[in-house]
Amino acid sequence: MSDSRIDVKKTYKLFIGGAFPRSESGRTYEVKDSKGNFIANPSLASRKDLRDAVVAARGAHGGWSGATAFNRGQILYRIAEMMEGRTAQFVDEIVALEGVTPSVAKKQVEEAIDLWVWYSGWCDKIGSIYGSTNAVSGSFYNFTIPEALGVVTVFAPAKPSLLGLVQSLAPVLAGGNTAIVIASEKYPLGAITLSEALGTSDLPGGVVNILTGSPAELAPWASSHMDIDGIDASGLSTAQEKDLRIAGADNLKRIFRFKEAKSPQRVLSFMENKTVWHPIGV
């Protein structure tokens, strides 16, 4: 009888530099389902975990931003393939935490995967559409191309948990950035499951790092970290965003809050435009 079998339960851990460590602090916190029942003890990431994640993300940036856009697109598409295979797991978690019906949860997962595919296709097109050659007055060839900004920290909207995460993370990666995701405190399981998909998708270690815990605790450290270049603050309150902007001014972090789930402007926001001049002559 299946009743007699004891489940093998999962230990929910962080995802840093391609590995799955616990928090260096040893801290965890309790996640409950929508009815208040215990679900998991994920890691409560610390400032030190964040700093480690930044080191991993910076280390991975040269390789990821320097990879061909086609290659990045293939890897991002591979992630969608891995997510598709985990659909049931995502659905179960969303049903448990968000308290929605399985069909609503399934719709969210399908939308999230399709959105991931949409962003993966932007990798090798964003430069064609949003770069330019510029008709300057003089004998010069002059062009502008968007390039990856650098290391971006993502505070995604808490709900819908997987779709919110995908709409914030995928454009950051499509632009060639490396990322640190601060998962939703209340609904972190989708982020943790996503890390398992990322870990099996040929994505180089460190390109995405996922921390669970308290966004409110980590936001001030992220805002003052001098090696973080940009922040998606969509999941923070306006008061938290204000504090983030004040501290973030120390290295002029690019900080944005988005409304549209599906927009190339999300990709462009975390890119810098580089303009190159060269004389024309014989």
Partner: protein
């Protein structure tokens, strides 16, 4: 036998400078409420040129109100009609170009050769370029139905007074915003002449408002609740201050800030052209250029030859009367800036770098600094890290391309960089790895309204010029 140049001064007769300039608000020149004034001087002679109205908070209130009123007309006008006003402005600036050039040289201290050939024609070109955008904004790349911010507060520096005005005002107006602009304290005159151009163009009242003053005037503008967006060009420190001030207010913000541009010379560079590029990179506009090539990164095996040629070329630079058509280097813009340059250069001496300055006669009056470079500079030296904003170059050597990139990017700034080499693939490799918004390859300090300009990292937010620059003044779906 030595050859001497005869003087070739440009006549001042073309400009009429009023004894007192008022604020330009709602299409009229109005006195400041307090009645306070300050003076602007010619930095080449230290003569007072004019008294200038000093704007305080109540004057800013009035200017913002005028801009809000102007917005009702301007934002409802057919875009093509808005464009026509910008074309008019461009044409009048071209008609009055020599007047602008002489006035700019007198108020700023930069050579007439530069104001005549660069600042003023480029300013007019910026209006002409953006005029054509006014009725094509749906193609600007920010979404299908882009909207202006509303009233934009603009704060500009003293190094390119009219050109920075044009970079700010032209795109703001083309996109349907109205502006309250604060020129720099030491260089307000061409902005006030521009106000007269707006009158001649019959620009609707309140579309452009100009408030003169100092940092406190700028702060009052930044903090005014009626402002929807701030555009600032100036120092990184002030830029960060503004970023903190507008946090949480919902105001838009774009910043063009400081730089410490690396000008990288590889061993196969065409050496004579490179020397000209180095000269242009650091001594153009007395080095008062945020994108100056102020760090010369030279491949070790050609350093000696390059510096010998550079010294010889520097000895031919003519420093002196900015109104003389043969002058290459004019006056430092202010005593304060001269003191800053002097202090930083002395830190170069005391930290162990070796100074070379061109032998040139320094005029008895006015503010001047001779073209200078330092060798033996390490990356830790202040003159390698801090923006000097003067005619002082720090020379640093490298052995491999990778080392050049590491050194070039070893700065919190990221505005400009140069690369000199005969090899095309090396140009593109270097350009790809430099963290800078503008890369000049086998050229330097070139500007154009169609070419986006702006920095990575702590050199700012956003771009000015080109299609990309329009995004700074348009709200799209995000």
């Amino acid at each position: 036998m030595t050859f001497e140049y005869s003087g070739a001064p440009e006549s001042k007769a073309i400009v009429t400078i009023d004894p007192l300039y008022k604020l330009f608000i709602g299409g009229k020149f109005v006195a400041p409420k307090s009645g306070k004034t300050f003076t602007t001087i010619n930095p080449a002679t230290e003569e007072v040129l004019a008294k200038i109205a000093y704007a305080e908070k109540s004057d800013i209130d009035k200017a913002v109100k005028a801009a809000q009123d102007g917005l009702k007309v301007w934002s409802k006008m057919a875009p093509a009609e808005r464009g026509k006003y910008l074309y008019r402005i461009a044409r009048i600036m071209q008609e009055r170009a020599r007047e602008f050039a002489v006035l700019e040289t007198m108020d700023n201290g930069k050579p007439i050769r530069e104001t005549r050939d660069i600042d003023i024609p480029l300013s007019a070109a910026h209006f002409f370029y953006h005029a054509g955008w006014a009725d094509k904004l749906e193609h600007a790349g920010v979404g299908e139905n882009p909207k202006p911010y509303g009233v934009v507060g603009q704060i500009i520096p003293w190094n390119f007074p009219l050109l920075m005005l044009a970079w700010k005002v032209a795109p703001a107006l083309a996109t349907g915003n109205t502006v309250v602009l604060k020129p720099a304290e030491t260089t307000p005159l061409t902005a006030l002449l521009f106000a007269q151009v707006c009158q001649q163009a019959e620009l609707p009242a309140g579309v452009v408002n100009i408030v003169t003053g100092d940092g406190a005037t700028g702060a009052a503008l930044v903090n005014h609740p009626g402002i929807n967006k701030i555009a600032f060009t100036g120092s990184t420190d002030v830029g960060k201050l503004i970023a903190r001030s507008v946090a949480g207010t919902g105001k838009g913000l774009t910043l063009e800030l400081g730089g410490k541009g690396a000008n990288i010379v590889f061993e196969d560079a065409p050496i004579d052209e490179t020397v000209e590029g180095i000269i242009n990179g650091i001594f153009f506009n007395q080095g008062h250029v945020c994108c100056a090539g102020s760090r010369l990164l030279v491949q070790e095996n050609i350093q000696e030859e390059l510096l010998e040629k550079l010294k010889r070329r520097m000895s031919q630079i003519r420093l002196g009367d900015p109104l003389d058509k043969n002058t290459d280097i004019g006056a430092i813009n202010s005593r304060e800036q001269l003191e800053k340059i002097t202090e930083l250069a002395i830190s170069g001496d005391t930290e162990g770098a070796e100074r070379f300055s061109a032998a040139c006669t320094i005029p008895a009056k006015g503010f001047w600094y001779p073209p200078t470079f330092f060798t033996g500079v390490t990356q830790a030296h202040r003159i390698a890290r801090e923006e000097i904003f003067g005619p002082v170059l720090s020379v640093i050597s490298f052995r491999t391309p990778q080392e050049a990139i590491e050194k070039a990017n070893n700065t919190p700034y990221g505005l400009s960089a140069g690369v000199w080499t005969d090899k095309g693939s090396r140009i593109l490799w270097t350009a790809k790895h430099l963290k800078a918004g503008v890369i000049w390859a086998n050229t330097f300090n070139k500007f154009d309204p169609a070419s986006p300009f702006g920095g990575y990292k702590e050199s700012g937010w956003g771009r000015e010029g080109g299609r990309h620059g329009l995004a700074a003044y348009l709200k799209g779906a995000k």
